[in-house]
């Protein structure tokens, strides 16, 4: 996201475009990443209810993954999951994994 200069933004910190929090990629804050063991997941969607960043993806009422653009790594989903299906792993390690996957 390109940052704007002081002449280009509304005064007073006002947000004048409703819904523009989508532009704010909170995924960049993440130091722990939730990883889901699909063998344990029962698709109860409790994680979807609790996630403060609407980062739990759902398709046809079933858990369908995590949106890493917005997941800030808070770990609430891991804490609330009744099936203990979510593990928080080190983000740097996980990224290394992403990178290795790419090279494969």
């Amino acid at each position: 996201m390109t940052l704007k200069g002081w002449r280009e933004i509304p005064i007073g910190g006002l947000i004048i475009d409703a819904g523009n929090s989508k532009e704010y990629e909170t995924g960049s804050w993440r130091i722990k990443r939730p990883v889901v063991d699909m063998d344990r997941c029962s698709h109860c969607l409790i994680c979807w209810v609790y996630c403060p960043d609407s980062a739990i993806l759902v398709e046809d009422t079933r858990f369908a993954g995590i949106d890493l653009v917005y997941c800030k790594g808070c770990g609430i989903c891991a804490s609330e999951c009744p099936r203990k299906a979510i593990t928080m792993v080190d983000e740097a390690q996980a990224r290394k994994g992403d990178h290795d996957d790419h090279q494969d």
Partner: protein
């Protein structure tokens, strides 16, 4: 050419400062007034609530539980798109401190009437400028009045200054507690319709109540944008340097009473000058007149706008003087000198002037400052050429 007779005729009345301000508030007829009484501002709130009770204004009056709540209610009302005002003094302004920053940072054109009072302890209800100086960095425009007429006129102009699209900053105007707040003066009160015509209607660009254009006020703002928003506030302050005299001229064209950022008195050919804020300027003028009759080249620079501080105007007015005394009616403990002095010194130095200078603290906690003491200051100045005197001098403190 404009002649005296073309000015709007006011009604001459004897009013004390608090009542004069309440009268201006009645004429402005704000949408919301949220205030808590505190000496020496109490009479403003008392008088204004009578106007509310008598149906003389349409204002929603909120009798809040504290000054922190008063300013918070004004912030809500202003964000909702209304004209919001409050009045306070001393400890009340100190209790508001946190939220004064919120009002300025959110760019809400709230108007606040401040009747200057010292800060405790020891407990003191009388005048000095510690209260308004305590919020001098909060992002509010600050105008200081010499007379009750000026306080009344400032209360009206403050609305226009705050709401000017180039400015959009909350504005406080001050009058010295008791000295102006509780003293009677003959002033001219403008006709109601003239005041209403002058202030016009406020059309806020954004409003919380405009449900078709939803806006978020007061969101989180971190390292990535906070600094840019501060930069915008600085811009608003700098533009106020043009807007304040522009509105002061417009007011003058209407009433014959013109206002700028500063006012020079017998200054052009003066060798020695005093600089001051507030009602002490009246005393200094008396002394200047007296010394001028003895052919002494003395003058006065009254600073009306302390925030924004008009450095160019001050340097223009004082550049070339042989020695200057700056009178501060407040104190910054541990500082090298006090708020007004430091501003004047910086303005002169950055404009290449290095006159003799001295900082006098006076009038703390309501201490009277009399003409002979001001005469003493002018006598001292004659010996001060070319040096910046340290330490600070304390007028009237007993050893």
């Amino acid at each position: 050419m404009t002649t005296r007779t073309e000015y709007v005729k006011g009604t001459p009345v004897a009013l004390d400062g608090d009542r004069a301000v309440a009268e201006a508030m009645r004429q402005v007829n704000p949408d919301v007034v949220a205030a808590y009484p505190i000496t020496p501002q109490t009479e403003i709130v008392q008088r204004f609530s009578e106007f509310v009770a008598n149906g003389e204004v349409d204002t929603e009056f909120i009798a809040v539980e504290s000054e922190h709540a008063a300013m918070s209610a004004c912030i809500g009302a202003s964000a909702a798109g209304g004209r919001a005002q409050t009045a306070t003094a001393g400890a009340g302004l100190a209790l508001m401190w946190e939220v004064t920053w919120v009002a300025a940072g959110t760019r809400l054109p709230i108007v606040m009437h401040v009747v200057n009072r010292s800060l405790s302890a020891p407990l003191n209800i009388l005048c000095d400028h510690s209260d308004s100086m305590g919020v001098r960095d909060a992002g509010w425009i600050q105008l200081y009045a010499e007379t009750i007429q000026e306080a009344y006129d400032d209360a009206i102009q403050a609305v226009r200054i705050a709401e000017h699209p180039d400015v959009m900053l909350p504005t406080m105007h001050t009058l010295d507690g008791f000295v102006l707040g509780h003293s009677l003066e003959r002033i001219e009160v403008l006709p109601d319709e003239v005041v209403r015509g002058f202030i016009g209607t406020y059309n806020p660009r954004y409003s919380l109540l405009d449900v078709d254009h939803p806006v978020t006020f007061g969101p989180n703002d971190y390292h990535d944008y906070f600094f840019e928003h501060r930069r915008q506030q600085i811009e608003g302050m700098e533009r106020a340097l043009d807007v304040i005299p522009q509105i002061g001229e417009e007011f003058g064209a209407l009433t014959g009473r013109r206002y700028g950022l500063v006012e020079g008195y017998q200054l052009d050919d003066a060798d020695f000058a005093i600089v001051a804020l507030g009602s002490i300027n009246g005393t200094v003028k008396v002394v200047v007149d007296e010394l001028r009759r003895q052919d002494r080249k003395v003058g006065l620079l009254k600073v009306r706008s302390f925030r924004p501080f008009p450095a160019d105007k001050v340097a223009q007015a004082l550049g070339g003087k042989r020695a200057i005394a700056v009178l501060d009616r407040s104190f910054s403990f541990g500082a090298q000198a006090h708020p007004l002095f430091l501003e004047v010194l910086t303005a002169l130095y950055t404009h290449g002037f290095t006159p003799g200078m001295a900082n006098y603290v006076f009038g703390l906690g309501g201490r009277d400052t009399l003409p002979w003491q001001i005469r003493q200051v002018y006598d001292d100045l004659a010996e001060l050429e070319g040096v910046v005197s340290a330490p600070v001098r304390y007028l009237t403190v007993r050893e």
